[in-house]
Amino acid sequence: MRRILLGILFTILLLSCDNIFEYSPYQVKVDKADKDQNYKNLDIISKKSNKDFKPFKIVLFGDTHTYYDDFNDIVKELNKRSDFDFIVNMGDITLSGIYREFIWYSDIINKLNKPVLTIIGNHDCLANGEYVFKEMYGPTNFTFVYNNCKFVIFDDIVWERNVKDPDFEWFNTNLKNDENYTQVISLSHIQPWDEQFSYGNELLFNAILHNNNVKYSFHGHTHNYKKIKKYKDILGDVTYVTTEAGNDRGFLILTIEENDIKIEKINI
């Protein structure tokens, strides 16, 4: 009798574990609830958007990888604040692009009170990660407008795609300020001076931003905070900003004003 009870208890315990049957760590199998999260969050964001410009605040962090404890603390801290409108994760949400790492990340961001948009990082392209990412969050290149500011999210992963150039044509087309936007802001995971970029691509990236009068370009990848006019001596004065990694337990609050962006770095 005791053994049977123990057996039943054990079975219940097992069944209570999510995903107890895992067919492969590389599987591209996303539950309906976890699908197209960027789409769903963009819906929420666009409902709050004004037609005319009004200064607003957003939060940026990136490279959360598998620093889940630190990430959880960041989420708790952000849930205490209400002075910002939405959050952008600058990419690298996993370490090896395997199944449960995506699930764990998704579980954590679902605790946030504010909508989050997730950008693809190089680690997320390992194994079948790219396919899982696209199922979970949607297309990796996309744009949206909030309070008459256009945000251009650009997928600039090179090596993990077998040294394929990013889609600069798309980038150039979408950065055009064709509808009198107050600001056009560029966000992508890898900063152009990274070793993944060839020197030609590096200069092209900067030239595209400069030609489209973009003032700020935000990135993750470097695991440290920097605000720098990197190509001042070569072309234009685009300001590049990089975010810290998850284990630095920090985030940036951007105040988007009519002509500028103010950056406040907060560490918990």
Binding site: L13, L14, S16, C17, D18, N19, I20, F21, E22, Y23, S24, P25, Y26, Q27, V28, K29, T66, Y67, Y68, D69, F71, N72, L95, S96, G97, I98, R100, E101, W104, I108, C125, L126, A127, N128, G129, E130, Y131, E135, W159, E160, N162, V163, E195
Partner: protein
Amino acid sequence: MKHIKIIICLLTSILLSSTSYSQDNIVDSYLSKTDTLLLNNEKIYIPRRVFIPDHNRIQFAGAIGYLSVGMGYNIGKRYEITFMLGLQNKTFGNSDEAIITTAIKNTINIYNPIVIKDRLSFIPTVGLSINWGYTNNTFNKLPSHYPESYYFQNKIHIAPFIGGKLRFECNKRNSHRRAIELYTELGSIDAYILECIRTKYVSIGDILNLAIGVSFYFE
């Protein structure tokens, strides 16, 4: 690579030099590799089929595919090695990308069979599986465009497990099957175990996976 070659050469020469070539020894060694059978009071020697597998296996889940099949050998009373080939795709396991996994499963029977009833017994097991995943962006050695040690290899995963099996001894007169075993294994893979150790957020319940399978043992 060079070291492996040297080790293999050394092992081969040791093995060869320890073999004695006298006539008696050859007969002895032949007899030791045979089974004997008494037929009309006459002894018949049957050579053992060394390379034919001792068991076949079919498994559901367990991180090596939706379904996997395998064959293997029993070495000694306690140790089994099984070579598995698993598949997951849209039809089997609802994955948008097809994944082929090969695995070398090492299983150890912790105890001798615990008899439950007549021919039915229970055996607890532990083991270690080495899994190779064939998919999009996995590699043993980094492609040449990366700097050295930019990423750790992500093709091979070590997967320890504990489990148990119900063994049913077959009726020998009717078939060449010796036994059928229904087994289940609770395991995880190295990358998940590492996160479980490294973080408070990932608990043991988050990293476990369950496999269920049937093994057929032959005479």
